[in-house]
């Protein structure tokens, strides 16, 4: 069980711990007032990383060596010297994904950004390099912005069997995998379906607005996608996908996958794309335990009237036990479950809008 959860919010980073009994409460705050777009706790050395989106002053990255008591600014991914696609040379707009490299690569970090660059650090964030193998891939020109002006990389999965295998989810640009540490890339996504394109392009893998890509840690070839207009499952890597029909709504941003059971996954459905709030104002979680054949819609402990909480793509997480879940919303709601989602309990805090929750 993880006894620590970080919530990256519009106005700071919040650390939660269970206090007495089972109630989770704020144990520490960092960067109060500043938007924190992503947080990473590196399981290899215990370092914490926080990505700040300072608006006027740009995106910054900070590292803590003491569990969040003190922070120091590191380098941030930079597009300095990267040529323009069109008239406008790219610059960093958002650090949208931060992941640790493999257990055999101490110090290696990956960052996904808007615009759609993937960056690698080999020195714990002190310097970053744009992964040219992806940036220079001519197919990247077919990506487009989904919700933001530019496309972005929001999901980075390092294969636990081989640190050189990296899978990405891109909004909007489908799912990609490198087997050589980023030098070359394969576009996956056969079977993904886009309802927002001309019909003849509906199954074009590069047109797919993958909202979130997640995998089962124990069976890394078993993956799930919450997509702009559907839920999809793969059981043999990122190549081929099966569309799943969830109850309530197929729209949503987040998916979390059980770390040991590849057929178990959780979703936070919402009214589809042009509205984006819980169906009927009732906040629920969809759970499948049989690979998507059936779902349960879980609501115990979640607000069931006048709830307009949207759960963003990084707003749902499961801990290594597979039993403890956390879910954070755009209206600052934060709920925990200790039993795989059967029952939820909200924290007694009125938080800023939540961008990401992560157990550590």
């Amino acid at each position: 069980m993880s006894d620590r959860l970080f919530a990256a919010t519009r106005k700071g980073l919040f650390e939660f711990r269970p206090q007495g009994g089972r109630a989770w409460a704020v144990a520490r705050t960092s960067f109060l007032g500043s938007p924190v777009s992503m947080v990473l706790a590196d399981p290899r050395d215990g370092a914490l990383y926080a990505a700040l989106d300072l608006g006027h002053f740009g995106c910054k990255l900070h590292r803590s060596e003491d569990g969040g008591a003190t922070w120091s600014e590191t380098a941030a991914p930079s597009y300095a010297g990267v040529e323009a696609d069109a008239d406008d040379p790219p610059s960093l707009k958002l650090i949208w994904a931060l992941e640790a490299g493999g257990a055999d690569e101490p110090g290696v970090l990956w960052a996904g950004t808007i615009p759609g660059g993937l960056f690698r650090s080999e020195d714990r964030g002190d310097s970053w390099s744009l992964v040219r193998g992806l940036w220079d891939d001519p197919r990247r020109k077919d990506w487009f912005g989904g919700g933001y002006d530019s496309p972005g990389i929001h999901s980075i999965l390092v294969d636990p069997r081989d640190s050189r295998r990296i899978a990405l989810g891109i909004s909007t640009g489908g799912v990609w995998e490198s087997q050589d540490g980023g030098a070359s890339w394969t576009l996956g996504g056969q079977g993904l379906r886009a309802a927002y394109t001309p019909p003849d392009q509906a199954y074009d893998p590069i047109r797919q607005d993958v909202h979130r890509l997640a995998r089962c840690a124990a069976e890394p070839d078993s993956l799930w996608i919450q997509h702009h207009n559907g839920v999809f499952r793969a059981t043999g890597g990122i190549g081929r996908w099966e569309e799943i029909e969830p109850p309530v709504s197929a729209f949503g941003f987040a998916v979390a996958v059980h770390p040991q059971k590849p057929g178990t996954a959780w979703f936070a459905p919402a009214v589809k794309d042009e509205y984006r709030y819980p169906v009927d104002g009732r906040l629920v979680v969809n759970r499948t335990t049989d690979g998507g054949a059936t779902f349960e819609t879980l609501s115990q402990g979640l607000p069931q009237a006048d709830a307009y909480d949207l759960v963003y793509r990084h707003g749902l997480d499961v801990d290594p036990s597979g039993e403890r879940l956390a879910m954070g919303s755009t209206t600052g709601g934060l709920w925990f479950s200790e039993d795989g989602g059967d029952r939820w309990s909200g924290v007694q805090a009125r938080l800023p809008p939540i961008y990401a929750v992560r157990f550590a």
Partner: protein, 89 residues
């Protein structure tokens, strides 16, 4: 030397009080300040070296268009203000 003042929002990375630095342009002054304030430039300029969108530059009482703010010649007696637009919630 020109006198340069930064918005107090940058107090964590820049000077707290008006500072004097030599430089024929704002770009040169920012370069000269890097030795004392290594993080400052990245807060004022983006990763392509452009003035960030919501930074406003005033020289001797007049706001300077962003396109020329980094390269406009300064006088040795110039007063330069690096401020920010107000936005957000």
């Amino acid at each position: 030397m020109a006198s340069i003042v930064f918005t107090p929002h940058l107090r964590a990375v820049g000077p707290l009080r008006p500072a004097a630095y030599a430089g024929a342009t704002l770009a040169e002054i920012l370069d000269a300040m890097t030795a004392d304030y290594p993080r400052l430039k990245d807060y004022v300029l983006d990763d392509q070296g452009r003035l960030r969108k919501h930074i406003a530059i005033f020289v001797d009482g007049a706001m300077v268009a962003r396109e020329i703010a980094l390269t406009q010649p300064l006088q040795a007696s110039s007063d330069v203000y690096v401020f920010q637009a107000l936005s957000g919630g």
